[in-house]
């Protein structure tokens, strides 16, 4: 077995590789689209990647860490440290514009800026466009959907249910 040292490795190259790692729950999004990679640092041949969870209990975080490890390993990067950082807390504002467009094309309504205080009760939901028929005549079914990051909506026109990546 030949041991090669990757002399051409740069932080830019690592960011490029991370772009190829996708969210296991929403595979059209890369982890960069999601905004969960908070930093990349190269120290000699040691690579440090800092990630932040979307939700405290998100079961995808372990899978994402494994996927990062495997993608970088394929480039010969073995000395990898993945750091989990809680603060500042992840927010949907870190999601890229490209990411939001990919989400809608995939059938998930992207996060909208909240219109009122988070504790307002009943009927304070943002107006969402149905990702299937583009109608804005839609309604909230439940604040809690198929994964921790999504709410459950339905279109009143085409009647299709759809997920909303909720504002956080």
């Amino acid at each position: 077995m030949t041991v090669t040292t990757n002399l051409s490795l740069t932080e830019d190259r690592i960011w490029q590789l991370l772009e190829e790692v996708s969210d296991p729950e929403v595979p059209v999004l890369s982890i960069l689209d999601l905004g969960i990679v908070r930093g990349v640092r190269l120290e000699g041949d040691e690579v440090h990647v800092t990630i932040t969870p979307t939700y405290s209990g998100c079961p995808a975080m372990n899978t994402i860490a494994t996927d990062i490890r495997l993608r970088l390993l394929a480039e010969g990067i073995t000395r990898l440290h993945i750091h989990n950082q809680l603060s500042p807390a992840w927010t949907t504002a870190w999601m890229s514009e490209a990411g939001k467009q990919k989400l809608e094309a995939y059938g998930i309504a992207p996060p909208q800026d909240a219109t009122g205080h988070v504790l307002n009760l009943f009927g304070q939901e943002p107006v969402l466009r149905c990702p299937h028929c583009q109608s804005t005549n839609t309604r909230l079914v439940s604040q809690f959907g198929s994964t921790a990051c999504k709410a459950h909506y339905q279109c009143n026109d085409c009647l299709e249910p759809f997920d909303y990546f909720k504002c956080h």
């Binding site: 989990n84 603060s87 807390a89 459950h152």
Partner: protein, 265 residues
């Protein structure tokens, strides 16, 4: 574990560190026990959307519990892991308040237990977020966003049940009668919490109680429910004196690790 967690332990005396450990474990146990209770609804919810909601809230609380247990393991510094702390401590070592270990009962009982806890949890996290302990502040900053969704959900259900049908009202009133007595313990400081309040690590519970009162009064008014007055408050969980329910809960929660020590996926 794939990742390393960057945990900053405050520079305090050994005594304060022990008190902080006890407080962090109390927070961890509280989140874990309520997460487990909610998980018992999985597959049994009254309708699919609410079954999912309870599973989602359970998962948020479980994630929060893990963050606290990881911090507690670091504070303890004896090589125990988050899993050891959750799976290998007995009921008398658990420090969760009595409220969260109460059985699910009917949906109204679960909602009342949840709302009483959510109102406390949300206002506590707002304070911890601004507190002097960096790690607790980071966990609180993360979890308060989730807790806001929880308290909105449970408040809306209090209103639907209270201002709903005769049957829903009868049930929610029975649940309030059964559970209100456990709400006082949340903001009654234990000796450990009092010491940490002196040291500035635990917020002023009287101020939090006032915020809870305003929150609960507002929601109960919309639900057309009277706020109970002058109820004798039970306590004990935060000092390890639990109701009989906790032992049964832990028997299920810890069964696998007790039977097959060290088992992993």
């Amino acid at each position: 574990m794939q990742e390393t967690h960057t945990i900053v332990v405050p520079d305090v005396s050994a005594e304060v560190r022990q008190q902080l450990l006890a407080f962090v474990l109390q927070l961890a146990d509280t989140s874990l026990i309520l997460a487990h209770r909610l998980s018992e609804w999985c597959g049994h919810g009254p309708i699919l959307e609410q079954d999912l909601a309870m599973a989602n809230i359970s998962l948020d609380l479980l994630g929060e519990a893990r963050s606290y247990y990881q911090y507690a393991a670091e504070l303890e510094g004896r090589g125990r892991t988050e899993d050891d702390l959750a799976y290998l401590r007995s009921a008398v070592e658990y420090r969760n308040p009595l409220l969260v270990e109460q059985p699910n009962g009917d949906f109204a009982h679960t909602i009342v237990r949840q709302f009483l806890y959510d109102a406390f949890h949300y206002h506590l996290l707002l304070q911890l977020q601004a507190g002097p302990d960096q790690q607790l502040a980071a966990i609180a900053e993360k979890s308060v966003k989730e807790a806001a969704y929880h308290v909105k959900w449970s408040a809306e259900w209090i209103i639907r049940l209270g201002d709903g049908t005769d049957e829903s009202r009868r049930r929610v009133e029975a649940a309030i009668t059964a559970l209100w007595r456990y709400s006082g313990e949340l903001t009654t400081p234990s000796a450990t919490e009092q010491a940490l309040q002196q040291a500035g690590f635990v917020p002023d519970y009287a101020a939090i109680q006032q915020q809870i009162d305003e929150h609960v009064t507002r929601v109960f008014a919309e639900a057309t429910l009277p706020v109970p007055q002058g109820v004798f408050m039970q306590k004990g969980g935060k000092t390890g004196r639990h109701s009989e329910h906790l032992g049964y809960l832990l028997a299920e929660l810890q069964y696998l690790q007790r039977t097959y020590p060290g088992l992993t996926w």
